[in-house]
């Protein structure tokens, strides 16, 4: 398979705390990879570095054979807008805007016409079964509905890579299953590469492959959460 993303010897520190200590990973095109490990092991930091949101202190991050860690913040923001989608646990929606506008936002920021952006947003709302929420604001939705709206926003630009950081962490198990099921279904349909950070064994079970981190480095044993579930 073609290599889509890579990180080589990625190092990242927050003050004196070293979150990543030379992590090397590759993600193939269309692959769904789960990044797992205990709290504070550097999972989210690795995702943020691969997505170009954080710049690593050392090492390389690349996308489709192009090294992106040296790019300016503006160039990385444009790349995220055109090729990447990002889904967090919470806090990603503009609470003052209704769902349809939230979903249309990446297209509007890229210069699309309002009507085109609205049409695309409605398509995604219908695809994820939440068309009735088009004019609802995030405060009027349940956690699961908010997360599906955020998923629609992450996918509206038809990204090549979707980064999801604990996408079901704030949801109950049923809502979490629904969101994850839709995420994986759409990713498979569109051949979207997914990097999924989780500490939940059931979530990790949806992935093709699991990368296990421990104390900022890859766990050499490679025994991840999905394996633990199987073993259990």
């Amino acid at each position: 398979m073609t290599q889509m993303l890579y990180g080589r010897g990625v190092v990242k520190s927050y003050g004196r705390t070293q979150a990543l200590r030379g992590v090397t990973v590759t993600v193939a095109e269309g692959e769904i990879v789960a990044v797992t490990g205990p709290s504070g092991c550097g999972k989210s930091t690795l995702l943020l570095c691969l997505a170009g949101i954080l710049r690593p202190d050392a090492g390389e991050v690349g996308y489709r054979e192009r090294r992106i860690d040296g790019w300016s913040e503006t160039a990385r923001a444009r790349l995220r807008r055109s090729d990447f989608g990002v889904l967090f646990q919470f806090g990603q929606l503009v609470t003052e805007m209704p769902a349809a506008e939230n979903i249309a936002l990446p297209l509007l920021l890229a210069g699309a016409r309002r009507r085109e952006a609205r049409t695309a947003a409605m398509t995604w709302l219908e695809r994820l079964g939440i068309a009735h929420l088009a004019d609802s604001r995030p405060g009027e939705m349940s956690g699961g509905e908010q997360q599906r709206t955020a998923l629609a926003r992450a996918l509206v630009t038809e990204p090549r890579v979707l980064f999801a950081d604990e996408p079901t962490g704030a949801l109950d198990s049923l809502a979490g299953e629904q969101v994850l099921g839709q995420l994986v279904r759409v990713a498979r349909e569109q051949q979207t590469t997914v990097v999924l950070v989780t500490h939940d064994a059931r979530v990790a079970g949806y992935a093709d492959r699991e990368i296990v981190l421990r104390d900022g480095v890859l766990d050499p044993s490679g025994l991840g959460l999905a394996g633990a579930v199987v073993a259990g």
Binding site: R80, E101, N102
Partner: protein, 520 residues
């Protein structure tokens, strides 16, 4: 990003954001009115008939300040200076709902906005509100011109409602103010990094230093140099370019104002440190720690009030100087009349300059009112911003009274010394240009020649030729410190501070409700 998208994102927000837009627009209305008034005064023609410039100055007004062409630039500058507290008020309003706005900007960045687009949205938020205000301000101005245009029987008007500034000047004000506001927002965001993960502010880690004292001293020394330099140039027949004096006064005044305003930050920190050491009650301790944690809050909140107090104190000194001068002139005339045996008639003093100074005082009062409104916004916002923490404290058993007293302590403990510094600086600046000692007389004399030598008075030494010399005595008087007026200014400033702190208490009750624990 299309302009429509930028506009939509600029006006997206909650009720707090709507309140911010309304208050910012209100400030813009006041600023527009002040600037348009200044432009109107400057637009008054100097001469009535260009063919006979010396015969007919254009002055169809009842007000002396408008009639005299030489005073119009000064009046315009005073009106332009009124925009300073207005802009500080707008700056204070811009902080309303800052946490929500930070969250919104981060969410927009996560949706794919570039840093520049984030900056454009933040700038547009201020610019749109200001544009709304300047347009309303223009409409109010145009409407007021018609309503206030009331010439008397002689065709004299109280205000220059018969002239209109050039449309280019009007357009410059209506579109320039929002542009300045947008640029100022971008400048203020230089310490802020809006990332998809949130908004990070580079905070100042070092405590405030007493450097503002240097600025105050620079301003006072600059003003104090005015009279000696003027004397020196007269004595040595030197010619100083006409722009030097206004520039020196402007930069000296600006330095002192910045010194007083930023000095409030150092005062906050120092008062906090002293309170931590000596306070024994919880309210004072909470206030002390907050003063130390964010010493610049007092500086921001009190900036306009301190500037107004400084100018008011300066105007009070100048008024005291003119009153002393009038008194000394009257005594001098009286003594000269007695000495020369003339009828004791004293000329009536010209009240023009004293009235002009009183007008500056009224201007400072208006500025103070605007400043108090800004302070009220700052205090209320500081309570509302911390509502979750305050609700947690109340839920854990801290009485509301303690939190209320902490708010009052935090505001008043800084305001008292800061007002003293501001008023002292105002006095020191004014006493540089209006010296503390007024002297008159000592030059007029009367010579009576003896019958034996009728031409004795025309000699180089009349006394040696037997003439009787009577010299009018020199009258010298110290300009009294206007304690009464200073008391009124200080009391007014302190009263405004206490009132605004009380307004903060009104918000405190709602902000400490248990429901606020769920605030995000």
């Amino acid at each position: 990003m299309k302009p429509g998208t930028l506009l939509r994102l600029a006006v997206a927000g909650t009720r707090t954001d709507t309140m911010r837009i309304v208050l910012t627009a209100f400030g813009a209305v006041l600023g527009t009115l002040a600037l348009l008034s200044a432009a109107t005064v400057l637009a008054i023609p100097t001469i009535h008939d260009p063919a006979h410039p010396d015969e007919t100055p254009y002055a169809p007004y009842t007000n002396g300040l408008l009639r005299e062409p030489g005073l119009r630039p000064g009046l315009s500058i005073a009106l332009i200076l009124l925009t300073i507290p207005v802009l500080l008020f707008v700056g204070q309003c811009a902080r309303l709902g800052a946490p929500g706005r930070d969250r919104r900007l981060a969410a927009v960045r996560l949706a794919g906005a570039t840093p520049r687009q984030g900056l454009a949205i933040a700038g547009a938020e201020s610019g749109v509100a200001m544009l709304l205000g300047t347009v309303v301000g223009l409409l109010v101005y145009l409407g007021s011109r018609r309503l206030l245009d009331a010439p008397d029987a002689h065709g004299l008007r109280p205000l220059p409602t018969d002239v209109l500034p050039a449309w280019s000047a009007i357009a410059g004000i209506v579109f320039g103010l929002p542009a300045i506001a947008a640029l100022a927002t971008a400048f203020l965001l230089r310490r802020v990094a809006v990332t998809p993960l949130g908004v990070a502010r580079r905070t100042r880690t070092h405590p405030p230093r007493p450097l503002p004292g240097i600025l105050i001293v620079f301003g006072v020394v600059t003003f104090a140099m005015v009279t000696p330099v003027a004397r020196y140039t007269v004595r040595h027949h030197e010619v100083v370019p006409s722009y030097v004096l206004p520039l020196a006064l402007f930069f000296g005044g600006l330095a002192a104002t910045i010194g007083v305003v930023t000095g409030a930050g150092w005062l906050s920190f120092t008062v906090g440190r002293l309170l931590v050491r000596y306070a024994r009650r919880p309210a004072a301790l909470i206030a002390a720690r907050r003063l130390q944690a964010d010493p610049w809050h007092g500086s921001r909140a009190l900036a306009a009030l301190l500037s107004a107090a400084m100018f008011a104190a300066g105007a009070a000194w100048i008024a005291s100087y003119y009153r002393t001068e009038q008194r000394v002139d009257a005594i001098d005339q009286h003594l000269a009349n007695v000495a020369f045996g003339e009828p004791d008639v004293v000329d009536q003093a010209n009240p023009f300059y004293l009235r002009a100074v009183h007008l500056v005082g009224y201007g400072a009062l208006v500025a103070g009112l605007i400043a108090a409104a800004g302070l009220a916004v700052a205090v209320a916002n500081s309570v509302v911003e911390r509502r979750r923490a305050l609700a947690s404290l109340t839920a854990s058993g801290v009485p509301r009274g303690v939190l209320g007293r902490a708010v009052v302590w935090q505001t008043v403990a800084v305001a008292v010394p800061a007002l003293v510094v501001a008023m002292t600086t105002g006095l020191a600046l004014s006493s540089g240009v209006a010296r503390p000692t007024v002297a008159s007389g000592g030059q007029d004399s009367m010579c009576t020649a003896p019958p034996a030598d009728p031409r004795a008075c025309f000699s180089t030494d009349p006394a040696a030729h037997g003439a009787t010399m009577v010299v009018a005595p020199t009258v010298t008087e110290q300009v009294p410190i206007p304690w009464g007026e200073l008391g009124v200014i200080g009391g007014w400033g302190l009263g405004a501070t206490v009132l605004t702190a009380a307004l903060g208490l009104a918000f405190l009750r709602a902000s400490t409700a248990p429901e606020e624990l769920r605030t995000t």
